[in-house]
Symmetry: C2
Subunit: 148 residues, 2 copies
């Protein structure tokens, strides 16, 4: 169905647009006992459909899972239009001052009362390897990001 | 934090209540190349926090993934209260008349114009093995379902 296919560039641009508007996305990891795991997450910094930054607590099950296996996936959608994207990639767990500053926003204070230097704060950087976008019209396209 | 823990029975009852009200849940599977995969799904029949039924198309990537690995997870939440549940279990792909009838609703006609006997319709039965519920008050509890 060639006429329903988007170019890589268009698919990535549309995924980036939907992602930048998303207050919540869903992050899947490889969990325990061979089961996947997933949860809702708030993207803190979105750099196109290429790099997405989150925060988490050092005690989170995500940390345990990602230390064992960095591979992850993100899903986001518009409940209004049903347009959706999926991104596959890897997650780096970061704890340096620059990464903390990069994602910090005062709305995080509820979870991290110690602020940007709170000892339980960890930064998650999702690096996209490939993705797919499916529009409300059914037109879809895949894209991949080559590391260079 | 014992005072923040729910009993198994309470956690399961609260997860079941939230699930029965959910129009959309998020289903994670073990996808390609060692990455998890996930997507939004509409629960068609909910039997407590024990068995959840969905429909899918025979051509879906879910089918390929579940044939290779039946292990899956479901996440659902209330955007209003942020109460959430996660369920881990396995998915059976069914194609018999009774299963088709069990999940059929006329709203599926958009996707399956042939109706309950549409050749592309497949039924997914998610059998819960264990789960966790986290309330808006932070009280949480885990539960497991023993097969008998």
């Amino acid at each position: 169905m060639k006429e329903r296919e988007l170019t890589q560039k268009d698919a990535m641009a549309k995924a980036a647009k939907l992602l930048s508007a998303a207050k919540t996305v869903f992050l899947a990891t490889n969990g325990s006992h061979g089961h996947p795991n997933l949860r809702a997450m708030k993207p803190l910094v979105v750099e196109g459909a290429a790099v997405i930054w989150f925060s988490t607590s050092v005690g989170s099950s995500k940390i345990i899972e990602l230390v064992k296996d960095e591979k992850a996936a993100i899903y986001g959608y518009s409940a209004r239009t049903t347009a959706a994207f999926r991104l596959w990639g890897t997650i780096a767990i970061l704890d340096d001052a620059a990464s903390r500053k990069h994602i910090w926003t005062d709305s995080l204070k509820d979870h991290f009362p110690g602020g940007v230097n709170d000892s339980s704060l960890r930064v998650l950087r999702f690096n996209v390897v490939s993705g797919v976008y499916v529009g409300k019209d059914g037109k879809s396209g895949i894209f991949s990001i080559l590391e260079g």
